[in-house]
Symmetry: C2
Subunit: 337 residues, 2 copies
Amino acid sequence: MSTARDLATTPGLSQIADVLAAGGDRLADLLERAEGRLGRVAEGYGPALEGHVSGTLAAGGKRLRPMLVYISAGESASDDLVAAAVAVELLHMATLVHDDVLDVAELRRGQATVFAAGGREAATATGDLLFSRAFAVLATTGRPDAVRALSDASSALARGELLQREDAWSRDLPVERYLERCGLKTARLFAAACRLGALLGDPGPPAADALAAFGDRIGLAFQIFDDVLDVSGPVERTGKARGTDLLDGTVTLPLILARRADPAIADVDLRGAVTNAEEAAVLCNRIANTGALDEAREVALGHVAAAKDELRALKALDERQRALLELVADGVVERYA
Amino acid sequence: MSTARDLATTPGLSQIADVLAAGGDRLADLLERAEGRLGRVAEGYGPALEGHVSGTLAAGGKRLRPMLVYISAGESASDDLVAAAVAVELLHMATLVHDDVLDVAELRRGQATVFAAGGREAATATGDLLFSRAFAVLATTGRPDAVRALSDASSALARGELLQREDAWSRDLPVERYLERCGLKTARLFAAACRLGALLGDPGPPAADALAAFGDRIGLAFQIFDDVLDVSGPVERTGKARGTDLLDGTVTLPLILARRADPAIADVDLRGAVTNAEEAAVLCNRIANTGALDEAREVALGHVAAAKDELRALKALDERQRALLELVADGVVERYA
C-alpha cells in the first residue's frame, strides 16, 4: 500500500512532493486515511476479487484526485472528505481496469494488470466492483449532491472512452473534438474531485462551481501534457515506450499540430505506417521536429492560467488554500521537470 | 419502447399479466413513467452511445425488478419511486451488456447485443454508462440509504459474475456454492428492489429488511427456475436453445442433482462432451430423465414458500399489497406455465 511518503518519492513526480510538503500534516494524514479505507474496500468479496482489487490499489498511482478533494476542502478533515477522496480514486481505478481489458494491456505502473493476472472476466468484474464500491463509499456521506457529482463524471468518462475509440485512426480530427474527448475522459473527474472537496469541506456549495471549473481546466492541462509526454518521453521518466498513443490509433494534440505544420506527416496513415515501437519512435521524432510539442505545451499552460483565473473569482478562499491549488495547477504540467 | 401493454403480452409471461391486472392503474402508470425516464437516460451522451443505450432499453425485458420496487412500496406513486425503479433496471441492464461482452453473445431478447452492433469497446462503455446513470438517477432521491442498497447489490453482482466464471466446468460443485452464486448474481438485486420500494414508499425503513428478505428468496427461486428452463425448454417458449448453460460450462442445480442420481452423468466432463447444440440437447434429455428438473423445481418452490413466510412477519402490510407480492412470488416459478 502506498503512503504519503511513497507518493512523495515516486520518481519524476517532484511537484507532488512540493504539494505534500506545503499541505503539511493535514494532507498527509488525510491521504493515509484514504489509503486505509482503500485497502479495506474489497473485504468480504472473496479471495479472488480481493486479490485483484488490492493488487490494483497497491499498484499505487499519484493519488492526485484524492489530493484535489482534500485541497479544495480548505482545512476540513472529516470522514466524509476521506470517503469522497476514496470514491474518486475507486472510480478512476475502475476505468483503468476496464481500459486495460480493452487495450489488452499486460502491465500498468510496472505491475501485471488484472486483465493479465486474472483474464477478461475477472477484470470486467473487478472494474464493475470498483464502480459499485465508489458509489457505496460516497453514499456514506449522506449527500446526494456528492453522489450526483460523481455519477455525472462517471457518465462522462464512459462517453469519453467511446469517443476515443470512435475517433481512433482519424486523419483529420479537429482540435475541438480532441479537447472534448480530454474533457470527458479526464477533466470531468478532476472537476468532480474539486467539487466534492468544496461541497463537503469548508468552501461549501456556493464555491463548488468555481472549484469544479478550476478542476476542469487543470484536468485538460493534465491530459494534454500526458499526450505530450507520450511523444517526448523519455522512457526512463514516463515508464512507458514513446508513441503508445500512435500505435493504438489515438490521435492527440501533438499529432494534430504536427500534421498542420508538416504535410508529409499529414499524409501518414497511422494504421499502416506505425505498426511497431521503432516506427512509433521515428514518428515521435518527426512530430517533435515540427515544434508541435512546444505548441501543445503552450495550450496546456493556457489552461493552467485559466484555472488560476477561476480561483481569482473565488473571494472566499484563504491564501494558503489558493497557494496549494496553484501549486497543483503548476504541477500537472511540470511533471518530470 | 415497451409499455405496460407490451409487457402484459410478452409471450409466455402470463403471470406478469396477472400481476399487472391486479396492480391496476397505479402499477401501469408507474411502469409507463419508468419507461419514459429510461428512454431519456442517454440523452446528451452523443448519438453513438444514445443509440446503444436506447437499443438496449427498447429490447425490453419483463421490467420485473421495477415492478418489485412499486409493489413493495404499497400505494405510494412518488417520483422517487420511479427513480428507484429506473435505477434498478439500469443496473440490471448494465450487467447484461457486460455479460454479453464476456459471453461474446450476438443476440439477446431477439435483438443484436451492443457487443454485436458496436463491438467490445462500445459495449464496455455502454455498460459503464448504464452503471453510472443508475446511481445518478437514484441520487436524485436524496436518499443515501437508497444509494447504499443499490451499490451493495451492484457489488454482489460483480462478485457473483466472478464466482460463476471461477466455478465454470466444475465437476463437483456443491449445492451451497451454487446457491451462493444465485444469491449474488440474481437475488441481491431482487432484494434491493424490494428494499428500495420499502424505503421510499409506504412501508418505510422498518419494513425494509423483511421486504428485502422476501426479494432475496424470490430472486433465488427465479434463478433456479431459470436454470431449470435452460434444460427443459421448450425453445418456443424460452426463446433460446436448450443447454446454453451446459455449453458455456455453467454448472446449475439440475446438473448437480442429475449427477447425484446418475453416475454416468457424474462422469461427463462438460468441456469435452458438450461442444455443440446437439450434444447439449442430448445431455438435457439425460438430466431430465433423472427427475432432477422436478427436484430443482421443488427447491425453487421451497424458496417461494419461504418468501411468503417473510411477508407473514410483516404486520404492517395491507392485504392488497400482500396479495400482489404473493402473486409475484408465484409468478417467478410459473413462467411459461
